[in-house]
């Protein structure tokens, strides 16, 4: 099985003074569902940022989708990101765009044709139960609804990898349930590799998954 992520002696830091992640080694196979847990400030989100190239390794090697993050050029990084779907805890929706256009964003960037784009967005809006709100702007929606939009956006271009940073952090049970169902569906039906950073793994998970735990800058797999 192909490995989507390979980290070797990977260290991450925001400044020279403090190392957040210290020489960790791990890999993720294609089509896996992975949870990364850890206490607040343990470096879970930092690790996730490095996976989409927002933070370059201080030391060691990190390969995502065959691309070495420490040496990647801006254009190659853009190319990699076009094949990744990211869900942020703070949603990161474009406020001046309607939710329909927000979901379209990765499709526009990937140069999909307009009719394909519209069909895909309509289908996703149905899945996230927001079809009736397609013309609204993000700030007109609740937190749960905004996160469902962010989820639909992450799925819209059928990425090879989905990275989710505490996607159900502050959500109601209904929205959280929808998010987990969508992530499970992407993994089982589309064979998308999913990496979720979270405090708690939901008890209702119906699929096999890998679990990594980060503590004191190190990572270990939990069985």
């Amino acid at each position: 099985m192909d490995r989507v992520i390979i980290a070797e002696d990977l260290s991450l830091s925001y400044s020279d003074d403090e190392t957040i992640i210290n020489k960790i080694n791990f890999s993720v196979n294609s089509g896996c569902f992975v949870f990364i847990t850890g206490a607040s400030g343990s470096g879970k989100s930092t690790l996730l940022k490095s996976l989409y190239g927002a933070l370059k390794p201080a030391q060691g090697s990190l390969v995502v989708g065959g691309v070495e993050i420490s040496k990647v050029s801006k254009s190659k990084l853009n190319f990699l990101r076009r094949h990744i779907g990211i869900v942020f805890q703070d949603y990161k929706l474009i406020k001046e765009w309607t939710i329909e256009k927000n979901i379209m964003l990765p499709l526009i960037i990937n140069g999909y044709e307009k009719n394909v784009t519209q069909n895909q967005v309509d289908s996703l809006l149905k899945h996230v139960r927001l079809k009736h709100q397609s013309g609204k702007y993000p700030l007109e929606l609740s937190g749960g609804e905004q996160q469902r939009v962010a989820m639909a956006r992450a799925l819209s271009h059928n990425p090879i990898l989905i990275l989710a940073d505490e996607p159900t952090g502050n959500l109601d049970d209904y929205s959280a349930g929808l998010i987990w169902n969508l992530l499970e569906g992407a993994n089982t039906q589309l064979k998308t590799t999913v990496i979720v950073v979270t405090h708690n793994i939901p008890e209702t998970m119906n699929i096999d998954y890998k679990h990594f735990h980060i503590e004191y800058g190190s990572i270990h797999e939990v069985n």
Binding site: A54, L80, I94, E96, L105, I109
Partner: protein, 270 residues
């Protein structure tokens, strides 16, 4: 409403820059036209014991445009009743030659001085009347007027540039988030900044059209025509092709520069 507000501040800043540029252009044209008027009414009188032809006179300075000999007859005519005709003929013969020199442009005081000295170097020329006192005060007044307008336009330009810098910060704040989010999904810089450039270009077009309307209205206004006729000049107040092209170019250049600065100053979120 929000969209209008987004455009409003940059459009106002651009219109004031275009306004100061056009006002400066109009003043420049007015001063040139006024100088031409002065040049046509200004002349130097030369008194020579010997006759001097036009070619020789022009050889003193390239400033000399036209040379005409003044006929002393009408002065002598006035003495006709009191002096014997024979003496009058004698007087006529002993009178020096008078020449009026028209110049190519309204000269600076130094040019007037140099020309006077060149003329007086010729032995036969006994007197040069350059009306330097009147000339100097007119010229100084022109320079003062030009300087005042230059300072006014410059200060207006500086204030507007400060306005645009403030606008730059607002735009940076407004567009940074969207550009960062688009970047996170792999958008190339041209795509993530496309909205910004579109906004800049639209604002430049709006500002150019507003300036066009404003100056077209002013150029046909009775008040402006009246003011120009008071000074006795005729100028092109607003050339609807050339001036509009220049103003549009400036507006487009400034707004695209603003957008470029935002793109260059954009930092990806970490």
């Amino acid at each position: 409403m929000k969209s209008i507000r987004n455009h409003f501040s940059l459009v106002v800043a651009l219109v004031s820059i275009l306004f100061s540029i056009q006002v400066f252009t109009i003043i420049e044209r007015s001063i040139s036209a006024y100088k031409e008027n002065l040049a046509s009414s200004y002349s130097i009188i030369v008194v020579s014991q010997l006759s001097i032809d036009e070619k020789t006179m022009k050889s003193f300075s390239s400033l000399v445009d036209e040379v005409s000999e003044l006929n002393p007859d009408h002065v002598i005519q006035r003495l006709n009743t009191k002096i014997d005709p024979k003496n009058l003929e004698l007087l006529k013969l002993t009178l020096p030659n008078f020449y009026k020199l028209k110049l190519t442009h309204f000269p600076t005081p130094t040019e007037v001085e140099n020309l006077t000295n060149n003329l007086l170097n010729k032995k036969s020329i006994t007197k040069v009347e350059n009306f330097s006192h009147n000339h100097d005060s007119t010229f100084k007044l022109l320079l003062l007027f030009k300087d005042v307008i230059a300072v006014f336009s410059l200060s207006m330009f500086v204030v507007t540039i400060l306005l645009i810098i403030k606008e730059l910060k607002i735009w940076q704040f407004m567009h940074n988030e969207r550009m960062s989010i688009m970047g996170l999904f792999g958008a190339p810089i041209w795509l993530s900044s496309a909205v910004l450039f579109r906004l800049a270009i639209v604002d430049a077009i709006i500002a150019s059209i507003l300036s066009f309307i404003l100056f077209t209205y002013l150029s046909t206004s009775f008040w402006v025509e009246e003011q120009l006729s008071y000074i006795g000049i005729e100028i092109i107040f607003f050339d609807q092709v050339m001036d509009f092209a220049i103003l549009s170019g400036v507006a487009l250049f400034l707004s695209v520069l603003l957008a470029l600065l935002i793109v260059i100053g954009h930092k990806e979120e970490v």
